[in-house]
Symmetry: C2
Subunit: 230 residues, 2 copies
Amino acid sequence: MRGKDKSSDRIYRTIKKEIMFLELLPGQRVNEVETAERFNVSRTPVRDAFKRLEVEGLIEVRRGNGTFVSLIDIDEIDDIMYMREKLEVAVVKEIGTLSKSQEIKLELLLSEQRELLDNHLDDFTLSKKFLELDNELHETIFTLANKINIWKRISNDRPHYNRLRVLTNLYSREELEKLYEEHSKIVRSIINRDYAHINDYYKKHIYRGMNNLTEIVSKHKEYFIGELVE
Amino acid sequence: MRGKDKSSDRIYRTIKKEIMFLELLPGQRVNEVETAERFNVSRTPVRDAFKRLEVEGLIEVRRGNGTFVSLIDIDEIDDIMYMREKLEVAVVKEIGTLSKSQEIKLELLLSEQRELLDNHLDDFTLSKKFLELDNELHETIFTLANKINIWKRISNDRPHYNRLRVLTNLYSREELEKLYEEHSKIVRSIINRDYAHINDYYKKHIYRGMNNLTEIVSKHKEYFIGELVE
DNA sequence: TTGGCAAAATATGTATACATCTCTATGTTA
DNA sequence: TAACATAGAGATGTATACATATTTTGCCAA
């Protein structure tokens, strides 16, 4: 049995989740003393948690002034998406011939997505569940190439990227169908080891859903920092 | 004028440098109280500095037991080098037509490297200075492509990668000549926008100097963690 | 009325005492 | 002798009081 975790860990996880899912809004003030009272601890473990959040870029501490949830950094999102595109294309090509079970695993993920789209779910639930399966597929691809750690460096649990996704809130059924089509093509490429068009697939795929970024940013200007380059 | 920095910042920078340049050895024990005495402060700012170092992966804190300089993680180095290769190849292709001054900048960096090799420096100094110019060239390439932030994410100031480089200590004159030749080819590719062989250049280039990794690791087994895959 | 200075309010930064965790050494018992 | 329990040492974790930085408020003067 591993040791119980520290209260600073508990605080870290809770606050991080609240920031990631916009229960604490970008730019919003947080407070060591209030947070300490909320968790029934002293300032010390709160400060430990805040320090970690600060290093990871989720909050900003201004000495003698206050602590604030960091704004969503558009430049960082640009970088992450660029890295995702280039690295996943490279990684796909590293995958060797698949075993039968690996092939089935990919097919299964695809058909789960298909079923989800065919079920009559409301748009919000559909979008949420589909994006989970989307994540799972991409993670599986990195795993098949023995590059899972690279996935962890660039995946959606990056705070700025994830917050944007939450803010987008939902993809239209039409967009999800396109995502599914692209997934099919990608999986087929992998199984057949035919990478002729894989670069094109990914270039479209990764940036899908970012088309309305301008709209989202102008709607919530106070949440963002950084340039929106076209 | 920005405010004076906190003592925890000073401690962080000092210890980080000592770890990066192996003045504190991987696995070595460090101690909050002793460190506090050394900097004439209480444990609190030391703990702040240690927390930051921990999140960045330079130390490992074991509750109730002790704090240790982290071992050099070979898996992480693998990942970083893989990302460097794939991303720099992608980034190079994003560079448009160069202005005359940009072209001169690249030529200048090359000729500085050439001069360094032609001077009669001792091997240690030569290696050290050459690797600085090497860094500068690669950084310039990312800057020309407007991708400097991606360079910052994967460059040599990553602790594990840098410590390995320090441990390697020096490259032979012969290897440096090869690095120079590869730099020439890369720069020529960029200026002529001819990327026919750029993938091959980089595949060799990034991994050069890692040929004797097995030797280094077996010589200092106690400093490393992770698998050495061939 | 407005500009500026100073004090108060409030936040984070630091020092210190105590709590808890982990390993080790030592002694007891089967 | 070996295995286990246990007490101690020494490390990090937490609570709390005080120091310092920053902003805000409000008084006073031009």
